[in-house]
Symmetry: C2
Subunit: 274 residues, 2 copies
């Protein structure tokens, strides 16, 4: 029995399982879409990861992640681009729907966020031809503004789409409710993204009140304040029909529970509140 419309980002169970274990547990629940991280792929090797995907006819809703472009010197910027070229190759081999880009924040010692944003644009422009040739759409994931300094200086859908439209074909956005739910323009920008088919992924989790850790305290769908259904409707109305991908970083709660319980809870919540 296949469970349509749900994908599990394997970060959600990264403390419990490696990729083969996570895939096996997903399949038992009928989940046939996943999004692995590069370190999870590397641990077993790209060939084995690809075999697992193909043998089980898995949909890979994204490979996490490329990006981290801004750097304090040319050597590091070049290294980041080379690493992203490899990430494109890995995403192509896995047949991923997209390569998710967490674009990076300020370089060490910098206060110039405009310059960092310029480096991001230049770097993506550099890897985009290879991504197009490889058939790998690049998904800029605007991260919540609280990550602007250290993880991603692209912080709104408007900003991500402005950049994507300048860059042309082969590039869009990953819409993660955690990062964009607060944005007064979230619905209008989702609609805008739909018009040029730039929605490449739909990530879900929830925003907890209070949030006790800026990185590792994401909530299970339904446990927080995000209006998941309304955002889902906007995304579907904009023409995206891919699975909702659960991505939860939760050091104190979900990473400490048995993986089966986490997955069963994802399925329950997917059916009731998403």
């Amino acid at each position: 029995m296949r469970l349509e419309g749900l994908s599990i980002n394997l970060a959600t169970v990264r403390e419990q399982w490696d990729m083969p274990q996570a895939v096996e547990a997903c399949l038992k629940l009928g989940i046939t879409a996943i999004a692995p991280w590069r370190d999870q792929v590397a641990k077993i090797g790209l060939a084995e990861a690809t075999r697992i995907v193909r043998d089980n006819k898995l949909r890979v809703t994204g490979l996490c992640r490329g990006g981290m472009f801004p750097a304090a010197d040319a050597a590091r910027r070049t290294a980041a681009i080379e690493d992203n070229m490899r990430a494109v190759d890995e995403a192509a081999e896995l047949g991923a729907d997209c390569l998710v880009l967490v674009v990076g924040g300020l370089p060490e010692g910098s206060r110039d966020i405009a310059a960092a944003r310029g480096m991001v644009a230049d770097s993506i422009a550099t890897i985009l031809p290879h991504a197009r040739a490889s058939g790998v759409p690049l998904a800029i994931e605007p991260l919540h503004p609280m990550y602007a300094a250290d993880r991603a200086c692209i912080n709104t859908l408007r900003q991500a789409l402005d950049l994507a439209e300048v860059l042309g074909n082969g590039i869009g956005v990953a819409v993660d409710v955690y990062h964009v739910w607060w944005d007064p323009e979230v619905h209008s920008q989702i609609a805008r993204a739909g018009k040029t088919k730039r929605i490449l992924a739909h990530h879900i989790c929830d925003w907890l009140v209070p949030t006790r850790d800026m990185l590792l305290d994401r909530g299970m769908m339904g446990d927080g304040v995000i209006d998941l259904l309304t955002i889902r409707r906007s995304i579907e109305s904009a023409g995206f029909d891919g699975p909702q991908e659960v991505e939860i970083f939760s050091a104190q709660k979900w990473w400490r529970r048995p993986g089966e319980e986490v997955l069963r809870t994802c399925v329950d919540r997917f059916r009731t509140v998403c």
Copy 2:
């Protein structure tokens, strides 16, 4: 010797001093502008607080704070409005440049941020005539999006200015670098605010990397990643010539240092990095 251009928001030294002590320490350093919080005023009484302001010819760059409008029922919404009416009266008595509004987040149990924003607009419209009649400009302070759920559902300058322009005269924005530094539109929206004279306050501190607490880990100017000088230039170019007001909530660092050291550091940093 007066130190022009610097105001101290008394939250910066709230753990060390009450309002009279803080004012005395400010005056010793030539600081003649302050922004008290309502609880600090209430502790000594509005009449005494007003006497201190007048006797020392202090500029009050703002009274913190009104707002917290969205509520789960009509009785609480009414109570919030009545409390804001009193806040207007207090700001008028103190001769404050503005009443700062931290507008409030989602009501208990709600996931409807659009409704909360509607309540904010309606509530401000309700208190605005009294504020105008009292000569107290209302300053909407857009808070960082990480506070959207629990403190303020107005999260960008664009959003605050859209609302202010609908509401008309007597209302503007408080620009706090901590909340807006990440915004790709920060400079364009500051320029927009200047055109209709809606910049009512300029708050400074810094964004630390890493930030260890979402509420109480603000940095001293120069210790973080905010490009304070560039934002200051934008604000000055937009026509605002009031003092920069230092507002630092720092449970682990600055609230534990002697108040004199905190103020001296504020003065030093004001002279060197702001």
